[in-house]
């Protein structure tokens, strides 16, 4: 009744073969894209950073080894700009991360009520996120206009009954970075707020009810129910904001061009001006490599610090 089998036992070859054929077609475009536009440039950056390459000069690149790195990190002639950029980025991050997160948390708490119109408020706070950063920079550039007809100056005059004189926020090295910080916080707080709000809403209401029956005050409830419940959300938000603050570029380019006197220059701004204004591709590449190492380092450190106490639910 049964004919001798032609194929003896083996894996379901036909189905793996069919799968592989389909998989290869499905994956190839993405693979090529990732390879050509992310992986290769990444490696190229490392290579270029070792070159002395004057863009557009028609001269062939020459080997420089680690000279570019030495220059931006150690050489007094060149390192001032780069160090300034690092300091600015660090200041920016140290101020923006807690300020923006705290503000986002406060707004999310305010919005976390089942009252009519809450979605409207939420939409309004989120709106700046939809604006391209370039446009946000332009709007705030207007707001920061120097004379007493500038909007911010006018507001300050009214609010302090004329005590504060009109100020050139973007033109004064002491206030330029602060001005950019305010603009950035305004632009990004909606993004964080929406994520924190979702986190708040995922904390079970019965936890609060149990706490209030246990006679916990609102503040105690906040500390013992809200904050632990938000832990993972806050961790995520902090990590993302930190990395984003290292990438600072758009606002600086449009509002201050890195000035005045390098008061607002950032790592990425340095990279771009090296590549363009000076045509120094080698240095630009070196800067971006340092940038990546920085980002990776910060991400890993944060991960290690904050992961330790993360619950695995």
């Amino acid at each position: 009744m049964f004919t001798k089998p032609k194929t003896v036992a083996g894996p379901a070859i036909a189905s793996i073969q069919q799968d592989t054929r389909a998989a290869v077609v499905m994956v190839t475009p993405a693979f090529l894209g990732l390879l050509a536009f992310i992986a290769i440039p990444f490696l190229l950056a490392i290579f270029l950073s070792t070159q002395n390459l004057q863009f557009g000069s028609g001269l062939a690149p020459t080997w420089m080894g680690l000279e570019q790195y030495r220059r931006i990190l150690l050489d007094p002639l060149f390192r001032a700009d780069f160090y300034r950029a690092l300091i600015n980025n660090a200041t920016f991050a140290v101020v923006v991360v807690p300020a923006q997160t705290g503000l986002a948390l406060a707004i999310a708490l305010l919005l976390n009520r089942r009252l009519r119109g809450m979605p409207v408020f939420r939409t309004l706070f989120f709106m700046p996120v939809v604006f391209p950063m370039a446009l946000v920079s332009v709007i705030w550039k207007l707001i920061y206009a120097p004379d007493d007809v500038g909007m911010l100056n006018t507001v300050l005059k009214v609010v302090t009954f004329g005590h504060i004189q009109p100020h050139d926020f973007l033109g004064d090295p002491k206030t330029a970075l602060a001005a950019i910080i305010v603009t950035s916080i305004w632009s990004g707080v909606g993004f964080q707020m929406v994520i924190i709000l979702a986190g708040l809403q995922s904390i079970s209401a019965t936890l609060y009810e149990a706490a209030s029956i246990d006679k916990a005050s609102k503040w105690q409830q906040f500390l013992n129910v809200t904050v632990p419940g938000l832990r993972n959300t806050l961790v995520f938000v902090v990590m993302v904001t930190t990395i984003l603050s290292l990438r600072l570029f758009d606002q600086v380019y449009i509002m201050t061009r890195g000035g005045p006197l390098n008061a607002t220059t950032t790592v990425m701004y340095q990279a771009v001006t090296s590549a363009f204004d000076q045509g120094n591709i080698g240095r630009a590449a070196a800067i971006t490599v340092v940038f990546f190492v920085l980002v990776l380092g910060v991400a890993l450190i944060q991960r290690w610090f904050l992961r330790e106490e993360r619950e695995i639910v």
Binding site: M1, F2, T3, P5, K6, T7, V8, A9, G10, P11, A12, I13, A14, S15, Q18
Partner: protein
């Protein structure tokens, strides 16, 4: 010819786990074969190997005359009903049922006609334009069945299709599936962990444990002549009472097995029907009594009954479950030992065990009472030290 033949089919995972060391079995054309066993015994794996959802690592699988080891599921001409029904959520019932036919490229008119026929068989006609989220559990189950039968495949494979239904629905669907299969006459392989389903639905039942077939037989045979202690303990609810005993013959030719300090006499016809038992030397032996093998009003001599102390009496209206303690050690194999009930954990000391008797509601039995329980000695089961039945 839609027979399914497993010829030493084996499944070893890449990390070395031998899920199925080797199975050989033949499902006849039109037969309803049930694979049953505790969780992890490999029954679902066998089904998935049959379907082609996992690769066979050894042996050959035949569907009809073809070796299908290397064929993809779509080429094996089988239909499957999944435990969670796996209905396509974005399609109507009609499209769900007709999907496979569409994949085969059948003409629209034929698809329409076949879908409506299948829906009619399963009383789904009114639901054809609904989506799965608007169906009840039982309705979804029937749509899953419809999806399978519309293809008129060589075999149906069913993976615990009733386990997500409530008890009442389960009883009803059991009968529907059985009758449907009989009408259609399609070879069916059905997997379940519920031995009641196995016993009521299967033409033959394959009992599995740890990837190995224990016994393949019609339900009655499994019940009356289990081939080992595992099958004996698995089939039948409540479970068979199994205990350690000693075989003894006296000088008058009578044969006895001990029940603790007591003794039960084995009737001569039992010995005649079981030659291995008859030839066995005196010594340790394992004995089983099914819960319905007890009689409340014992007759005859004291070697046809045992004295026990009742613990808990559960009244079910038409019958009673009497849980009693006796000074006897339980017998088991590794698996059944882990299936101890909570009640049995209460048993006071080692050497004392809790058993169950299923008896009529009268005469009344009370808890914590010492009573005399008759034993139907013609319904005893005997096993050797390895757990194999003695026939």
């Amino acid at each position: 010819m839609a027979t399914i033949k497993y010829d030493n089919v084996e499944k070893t995972y890449p990390d070395g786990t031998k899920a199925i060391p080797g199975i050989s079995l033949e499902v006849r054309d039109g037969e309803f074969m049930v694979f049953v066993g505790p969780s992890g015994c490999g029954k679902s794996t066998v089904l998935r190997l049959t379907a082609g959802l996992e690769d066979i690592t050894g042996g050959s699988l035949f569907i009809g005359d073809r070796v299908v080891n290397s064929l993809a599921p779509q080429q094996r001409d089988i239909a499957m009903v999944f435990q969670d029904y796996a209905l396509y959520p974005h399609m109507t019932v009609r499209d769900n049922i007709g999907f496979a036919l569409r994949m085969m490229g059948r003409p629209k008119s034929e698809i329409r006609q076949r879908v409506e026929a299948a829906a009619g068989r399963l009383s789904l006609t009114a639901l054809l334009d609904r989506k799965p989220r608007n169906l009840s559990g039982g309705q979804r189950q029937r749509v899953a069945m419809g999806r399978a039968i519309v293809r008129e495949p060589q075999a149906f494979l069913m993976d615990e299709p009733l386990s997500n239904l409530d008890a009442k629905l389960r009883v009803q669907m059991r009968a529907e599936i059985s009758s449907l299969q009989r009408q259609l006459g399609v070879t069916t392989v059905y997997v379940t962990h519920d031995q009641v389903e196995a016993m009521t639905m299967g033409d033959r039942v394959a009992v599995m444990k740890s990837g190995l077939l224990q016994q393949v037989a019609p339900p009655e045979e499994l019940y009356e002549r289990p081939v080992n202690i595992f099958v004996a303990g698995f089939i039948g609810s409540p479970k068979m009472n199994l205990f350690e005993s000693v075989l003894r013959r006296d000088r008058d030719g009578g044969t006895f097995v001990t029940f603790g300090a007591q003794e039960l006499a084995i009737p001569k016809e039992v010995l005649r029907e079981r030659p291995s038992l008859g030839q066995r030397k005196d010594g340790p032996i394992k004995v089983g009594i099914r819960p319905d093998g007890f009689i409340l009003t014992p007759n005859g001599s004291s070697d046809q009954s045992i004295e026990v102390t009742t613990e808990v009496v559960e009244s079910l209206g038409n019958e009673r479950m009497v849980h009693f303690i006796a000074q006897v050690r339980k017998a088991s194999d590794a698996d059944t030992r882990d299936q101890r009930t909570d009640l049995e954990e209460i048993a006071p000391d080692a050497g004392t065990s809790m058993f169950i008797a299923r008896v009529p509601p009268y005469p009344r039995v009370h808890e914590r009472e010492t009573i005399r329980l008759g034993v139907n000695t013609k319904g005893l089961y005997f096993f050797d030290e390895e757990g194999n039945s003695l026939f």
